[in-house]
């Protein structure tokens, strides 16, 4: 490698990457209170939107001046029924007849949270290392493709099959993280652009694969693969009544592993140093290029595991929509969790709850499921702008901002 190429790659993050980096730093170092208030603020604004969208409120508002209390009652009814529906759909269905019915929503929340936690953990490592990886979607797809293929095309003994399939998923995702990593390290290509483009490549590769004999379910014209062998499926951990599978526990273990990696290992030390100040990291003899490649590969591997949770756990077969929008929601999850493992687990569960509550919201409260998307988007908006949250709630500016004195 020529000296010039090295220089270029190390300058790249320090120049055009500076704005991203500053934003990432502001978010990953913002306080918990800001994160919690961002959720609160979006629930409040979400409530207002529900009021405006509700036909009963609109009806009562027509005679607002005659009987204003009617409008308020209708508004209260709309908001409370929406939020209780969300509660019933994601935590505890108190109107269910059996325990299974009552408890299932929470297990659904955890099931939905599993891929979000995996991918969010990977993205969080990247964010703390100063890399804005938008590529979890593609990495999940590649992980699901490779893991799913091992799951349905190979036939291995119990235990080994699952292990090989999970490792295959991880490798698939890791490859899709390695590519933008090495491109950035060696050529300075910006990871945001490269990962976005690789998302398209992965999605279309999957669509193509599902039309080939190797992947398409025999006797079917639909873009779906055969069901993966039961030997390659994550075991259900609460029995047949619930969809919750071993992948969730694996995600929790991964969270612990990421914590150790970032806080207790020499690698994590380097990743954090490169993210917080690449110039000082380089001056101290750290290999910034290697750090970038390693971080992207590890992040991809974790997103690949998210793909395994989908294809070997929840869905059990490869479909064109296997990754849903998990890869993008995981960005929010990682940001909301301030890129810390514990935060990511909690944020993943919150977003899992949002997803799980969708159907109930639609059926019971007759509200468009889009309200969940709006809530999610508002949360991102608020956490991306800590000063806005501080202004709304009249919080003092943090004292760690530079004291000007000379």
């Amino acid at each position: 490698m020529s000296a010039e190429a090295v220089k270029k790659s190390d300058d790249a993050p320090s120049q055009e990457g500076r704005d991203w980096r500053g934003l990432l730093r502001e978010i990953t170092e913002s306080s918990w209170i800001v994160v919690v208030l961002a959720v609160v603020a979006s629930l409040v604004i979400g409530g207002l939107l529900i009021i405006f969208a509700d036909p009963a409120v609109a009806e009562a508002a027509r005679y607002f001046f005659a009987r204003p209390m009617d409008t308020f009652a209708a508004a209260w009814e709309a908001v409370s029924s929406a939020y209780t529906a969300m509660f019933r759909g994601s935590i505890w269905n108190y109107s269910g007849d059996t325990f299974v019915q009552q408890f299932r929503p929470f297990t659904e929340t955890l099931t939905m949270a599993t891929p979000l936690i995996f991918a969010g953990l990977g993205l969080g490592i990247g964010f703390r290392a100063g890399l804005f990886n938008i590529g979890a979607q593609g990495q999940i797809i590649m992980g699901a493709m490779l893991g799913g293929w091992v799951g349905f095309a190979w036939h291995l003994p119990v235990g080994l099959h699952l292990l090989v399939a999970v490792v295959a998923s991880m490798l698939g995702g890791a490859l899709w993280g390695f590519i933008p990593g090495i491109l950035k390290a060696k050529t300075g290509a910006h990871e945001v652009i490269v990962t976005i483009m690789l998302n398209y490549v992965a999605a279309n590769l999957l669509a193509y694969a599902l039309s080939t004999d190797a992947f398409q379910r025999p006797g079917s014209d639909n873009p779906q693969s055969p069901v993966v062998d039961t030997t390659a499926q994550y075991p259900l951990i609460l029995g047949e009544s619930y969809r919750l599978h071993l992948g969730f526990l694996l995600a929790l273990a991964a969270a612990f592993g990421v914590w150790w990696l970032m806080e207790r290992s020499t690698w994590g030390f380097r990743f954090r140093a490169v993210g917080a100040n690449p110039r000082a990291a380089r001056t101290a003899g750290m290999n910034v290029s290697f750090g970038i490649i390693a971080v992207m590969t590890i992040a991809g591997g974790l997103a690949g595991l998210a793909g395994s949770a989908q294809v070997l756990g929840t869905e059990k077969a490869l479909t064109a929509g296997i990754a849903g929008s998990f890869g993008f929601d995981a960005i929010t999850v990682a940001l909301l969790g301030r890129s810390r493992p514990l935060g990511t687990v909690l944020a993943g569960i919150l977003f899992g709850a949002f997803r799980a509550s969708g159907p109930t919201l639609q059926v019971a409260a007759q509200l468009p499921v889009d309200i969940v998307l709006i809530l999610q988007s508002l949360i991102v908006l608020f956490i991306a702008a800590p000063p806005l949250v501080r202004f709304l709630f009249r919080l003092p500016t943090p004292t760690n901002e530079k004291v000007v004195a000379a």
Partner: protein, 504 residues
Amino acid sequence: MKLELKGITKRFGTFTANDSIDLVVEPGKVHALLGENGAGKSTLMNVLFGLYVADEGEVLLDGKPADFDGPGDAMAAGIGMVHQHFMLVPPFTVAENVMLGHEQVKGAAKLLDLEAARAKVKEISDRFKFDVDPDAVIEDLPVGAQQRVEIIKALSRDAKILILDEPTAVLTPQETDELLSIVKDLRDAGTAVVLITHKLREVQAVADTITVIRRGKVVGTAEPTASQAELASLMVGRDVSMTVDKDEAKPGKVMLTVDDLSVVDEEGIARLKHVSFNVRAGEILAIAGVQGNGQTELAEALLGVVPTTAGTAMLDGEIITDKPIKDVLHSGMGFVPEDRTEDGLVASFTIANNLILDLHDKAPYAKGMALQPKVIAEEAEKHVEQFDVRTTSIEATASSLSGGNQQKVVLARELSRPLKLLIASQPTRGLDVGSIEFVHKRIIAERDGGAAVIIVSSELDEVLALADRIAVMYHGEIVGIVPPDTDRDTLGLMMAGAHEEEAA
């Protein structure tokens, strides 16, 4: 115009930057505001200039209370300020910069009246013999001339009171002398000048009144006849030695050999041109020069941060150019970067972690891949104690430290392993007198311990205090290597490009 500050108090959170400060500035006088970095001088002037609102106290102009709501008001009232970092638009001409902010227009089309601005620049420039061309583009001008443009800007708005914030930090000794004579001329023309500085020599040269500020308080006033030692002890609050005690150097074998080293930057501009020299064990080679003449590139090329385009450097018989930075550090080079906040520290990391930036994956700080938090903490406690880092905890972030204490952390890290060569760039920039003394002692101790030392400094006082030999750089070349007893004028001329023979 007479300016009075009465009981000015300015707090940032719990930190009191200015504590009921009183100050009287008379017209036609130079009032020096002397204090260490962080003493609160700039804060005070920013209050005066309307950039900060004081929590308590008032500003009086000719006895009348003045309430400034931003720099615009201050300028309208006749206060001009030349900031440490110039507020000029680099691609604009001098006249355009001077006009900026109060543009005059002419005719029905409201075109900019550039003629009026040019005439004004010319008039002021001639009056004070500034020698500034109104049509010159700022980025083409040397720093000293840019500073004069700032002064013209202030005067063009009829400033009766001119505040100069650390004006000589970026100037060569000759430019400094020119500036000081300009200050005298302005004073004689009736302008009140407030000179903010921590350089004692300048204060003695031009000040009529001296007010010393320490930790946000006025701690005393002094006559310009006061000795440097008196002023320094007022400033620091205790007796400080103004000279560095050091024994004669006992140079040993050649430790570093630099041969024909060249650096070309990304734009293709040669920053370092065929530089050759050597440094022996047990001696300090100081590299003098005005900032931006290749010193930074030289230091960074030796470490390997900047790629070299030609030549070699050999450390104790081994070629280090084109080795990875990690290997260079481990072969015995200590590196104190010029910009400690950008290159020396990770601001958001704890002090303990900053102390192991380079050694984090070596025993005893790591076993395999696992960091050893206990060892890291113990070692950090030791270093903090040894290097007198003033902090509440080793878990405090580096950003919470003052500049002097940040520099002590960098030094503690770099000097905590056996060194063959120490390179320290601007080791005391922005440090208070007390910290400077400490840093200098440590550097000399390193020399006496047998390491070769390279000091890059744009402060001539520092170069003269530490050097066993002085190399002067100009435009990427070493114009000469001279003994430490070379006089200031000769060094000054060499810093402007004259070769040793011409300068002497």
